[in-house]
Amino acid sequence: MGLMSRASTVVKAKFSKLIDRAEDPNVMLDYSYEKQLELLQNVKRGVADVVTAKKRLQLQTDQLEGSVVKLETQARTALTSGREDLARVALERKSAVQQQLQGLDTQVQGLEAQQEKLVASERQLSAKIESFRSQKEVIKAQYSAAEAQVRIGEAASGIGEQMADTGLAIQRARDKTEQMTARAAAVEELVEAGTLDDFTSDGSTQLDRELAALASQSEVDTDLARLKAELGPGAAPKELDPAAKGTAQ
């Protein structure tokens, strides 16, 4: 059995539960319509949840970008004060945050595309439910019980597919958002706590860690050299700025 036929079978099986409910076609039509409205509400709520989560993530990303700027400033201040060790810590932290931000940004963009599709499916679903509403009155008026059964079955499974389909899309978007939120929270913690010790340890291999450490190290060195160059040879140690010292520690 192919992927396409299997996906259809699964979707149809899920929805057949709903349409086997009542013997009387009229009752079934009304019941089915009520259920559809109920499910549509769930879909709308689901879409809204995903949109909210995405906005929060974007906001978090903005804040983290702000912290990159702040860390750069701190490194500069530290270096001006002759505290290369502090500058290094700040730049290391900056590099770590930047690495995490890169992936997050791509994911937020992906979610954006998914959100557009979700909104489109929600609109389709609404249109189908509205069409079902008008067709059900026609079916009630014009068909015998036996014929009505068949027609309801067709219409309801058409809608059922759309519902199962939209439901799955929302579930997947929610899962993705949750993963991303967890990751953003981890980066935030990193910024707040300023500990980098376990930063590369989640799920990566020893080699990955070493490579990441190397890359990050050389990035920090380059960054440090650039700052030094910018500040010029005359950047003699000045009086230590207590505020900068406090935040960079």
């Binding site: 059995m1 192919g2 992927l3 396409m4 036929s5 299997r6 996906a7 259809s8 699964v10 979707v11 149809k12 099986a13 899920k14 929805f15 539960k17 709903l18 259920k35 109920e38 499910l39 769930n42 599709k117 979700l118 489109a120 499916s121 609109r123 389709q124 249109a127 189908k128 509205e130 069409s131 079902f132 067709q135 067709e154 219409a155 499974s157 058409g158 809608i159 059922g160 597919e161 519902m163 199962a164 389909d165 939209t166 439901g167 799955l168 899309a169 579930q171 997947r172």
Partner: protein, 91 residues
């Protein structure tokens, strides 16, 4: 999946079936990138060569193409038990 319904002609369907067979092979061979690329190709063919159904049309679909970011794990779930689709909250 999730992108509306389209009517496709026999020629396009034959092409889809070939890609579908390759998709099964990719699942069996554990090649996720290949699976995703095939699913994307399938969706793209339907989008570009199919005729979109009106939003108010209530016809059921004969076939459903799984989402193109399907993971191998999800593809396996599709073939076992309840499959991918979450239970509808209507029970």
């Amino acid at each position: 999946m999730g992108e509306g319904q389209y009517r496709v002609d026999d020629g396009l369907l034959a092409g889809l079936n070939e890609l579908d067979d390759e998709g099964i092979a990719a699942v069996e061979g554990g090649d996720e990138d290949r699976l995703r690329s095939l699913l994307e190709q399938m969706s793209e063919r339907v989008r570009s060569g199919g005729e979109p159904l009106d939003d108010g049309d209530l016809s059921p679909s004969d076939l459903i193409i799984p989402p193109s970011d399907l993971s191998l794990e999800e593809a396996k779930e599709l073939f076992s038990g309840d499959g991918l689709i979450p239970d509808l909250p209507a029970e």
